[in-house]
């Protein structure tokens, strides 16, 4: 498969404290790539740099051939961001949120309407499309949050812990959506705390700590990092690599 994302030596510091420290990776087109790490490891900062929200202090990344440093506008045309927070207008309906962000992304009204219908179908919210989001459950809001990221037909989708606080049904629905998207050629960069999610969903996983990648392989390949353990899980590997010290950030 063709390489769609390549990041080289990305650095970002806040008030002198490095949050991302020499981050490099490549992601193939249509791949679901998992980014695992404890709190404060630099996952969200990495995603925000790749999504052109934050400018890196050093390094660069190319997405679909466009540099996030020198051509952020071109990058924005092909990405979709589903942030960790539920970033939408709760006083509007799910459909109106999709229409609004579709128009913001440059779709015509007709295109935005069509995409809103398609995306609401994708996240199984067609029946509640015209209700105010404020009335939705946490899981439904998460699904609208995901649908908004899809409305502009992104080729690369950033999902920053999209299943936090979600019930098992909504979580299963979100997994199905992500698999279907990847099957259709969309590249997905997925950060999560839930290790079983990364294990089940991602073709490759990078474990990140202190702003740098400390391991990168397929889930099965990562199991091999604990050769002495009997049937190690990804969680065992994760704890082995990042330690058991609490990360209160």
């Amino acid at each position: 498969m063709a390489q769609f994302v390549s990041a080289t030596q990305l650095h970002k510091s806040f008030d002198g404290q490095p949050a991302v420290n020499g981050f490099s990776l490549t992601i193939d087109e249509g791949e679901i790539f998992g980014l695992l790490g404890p709190n404060g490891a630099g996952k969200t900062t990495t995603i925000r740099m790749l999504a052109t929200v934050l400018a890196p202090d050093a390094g660069d990344a190319h997405i679909g051939g466009h540099s996030i440093v020198s051509a952020p506008r071109e990058v924005r045309r092909i990405i979709g961001l589903c942030p960790q927070d539920i970033a939408l207008y709760e006083d509007m309906s799910a459909r109106d949120n999709l229409l609004f962000f579709g128009r913001m992304g440059g779709l015509t009204l007709r295109e935005a309407r069509t995409r809103a219908v398609e995306c609401l179908e994708t996240v199984n919210l067609t029946a509640r499309a015209d209700e105010r989001v404020a009335r939705f459950s946490g899981g439904m809001k998460r699904r609208v949050n995901l649908a908004i990221a899809l409305v502009n037909r992104p080729r690369l989708l950033f999902l920053d812990e999209p299943t936090v606080g979600v019930d098992p049904q909504s979580r299963a629905s979100i997994y199905d959506t992500i698999r279907a998207l990847a099957h259709g050629g969309t590249t997905v960069l997925y950060t999560t705390h839930y290790i079983e999610e990364a294990e089940n969903l991602c073709s490759r996983v990078a474990i990140i700590d202190a702003g740098r990648i400390i391991a990168l392989d397929t889930p099965e390949g990562l199991h091999g990092l604990l050769p002495d353990a009997e049937r190690p899980t990804l969680e065992d590997v994760f704890l082995h690599l990042t330690g058991r010290t609490l990360r209160d950030v």
């Binding site: 052109t52 929200v53 924005r76 942030p83 509007m92 609004f100 913001m104 908004i148």
Partner: protein, 391 residues
Amino acid sequence: MKASLIARREIRSHLSDVADLAFGLALPVLLTLLILAVFGTPDFFPTAHLVDADGGDAAWAFRGRLADRAQLEILDADEAHRLLERSAIHHVLWIPEGFGAALASGEGAGLRILRRGSGSLEGQVVTAIAHAVLSELAVEADAYRRVRIFADNLGIEPGTVDIDARTDAFLEREAAAPLVGVTTRTVGAVPDMALRTVAGILSMFLLFTVTLGAVGIVEERRSGIVERMKTVGVRPWDLFGGKMAAGIFKGMLQAGIMLALLALLDSPPPAVRLLGALGFSILALLTFGILGLLLGGLARTREQALWAAILFTMISSVSGGTFFEISASPTTAAIARVSPVYYAIQGLQAILEGGGWSAVATPLGLLLGILGILGPTAFWVFRRAWERGLE
């Protein structure tokens, strides 16, 4: 294009929120009606709170003349003390027992004035009126007394000539053509308290744009909406322009209601002045909207934005002359000169009172100047916040 979509979304949200709408539209209506009810009468007519412990003819004469120049409220002694004690009134004119006898004998009649602090502006006006009335009565009593003494010295028997009637006639002639007179000539536009207060309150409503703008942008930033907008290709000027346009629309809705209600006045300002005030409101809203986005660009949290905006609004409202004439205090007058609110109020007052181009030009020019400096500064701050990731 994107700016207009952002503005439309915000306006739609404002109009669909019943509580927001009720607060935004009903409050100007209530306040304007209140102002018109309080200041609807053209002249200031003070109320004199009075205790009459004498009750004689002279005291009645004093009360009668005072009633020609002020609204009288007669109180008993206990009630007067009680009302003063709880600051329900700020002055009491007290006619002491023996007032009439002292006045007639020329011994010097005393009027007591009880007051809280300076007695308020109304109390000071009433005191001045009471002094004038008392002087008139003293001069007249002195005239009666001297004429009687003079007649007695001439050996005129009491009863042969009605001395008091002749003195009355003389005093009436004197009152009709006094030796010392004061004439009053009205110059320029008549200050209208209702219009002046509406201009102040209208500016205060326009000033809410600062708080709404600052808090609104910080909330959208904190919720991740602005970040999301950035990733779909929205530019800083799209958001800046959209927020400005929405703020102007919401402010104009309130301004339109307040100005439309001025038609309830006995002699409402001509339509051209109301339209002029509406136009001037756009300029004020532009300035205040930009200030709001400046504060929103500087603040990191909702609380920071909220308190900075409230502080600015409070200081500007008070020092800018929203509630009282700032010329009353040299310090506030000096502070006001740096506040755009001051020029907004001055401009609106000048337009509504028909002060002419010369009265409007100065506040208009200064407000444009402030806008010229604030606009680029606010956008620079806003853009920096945008570029550094809107943290």
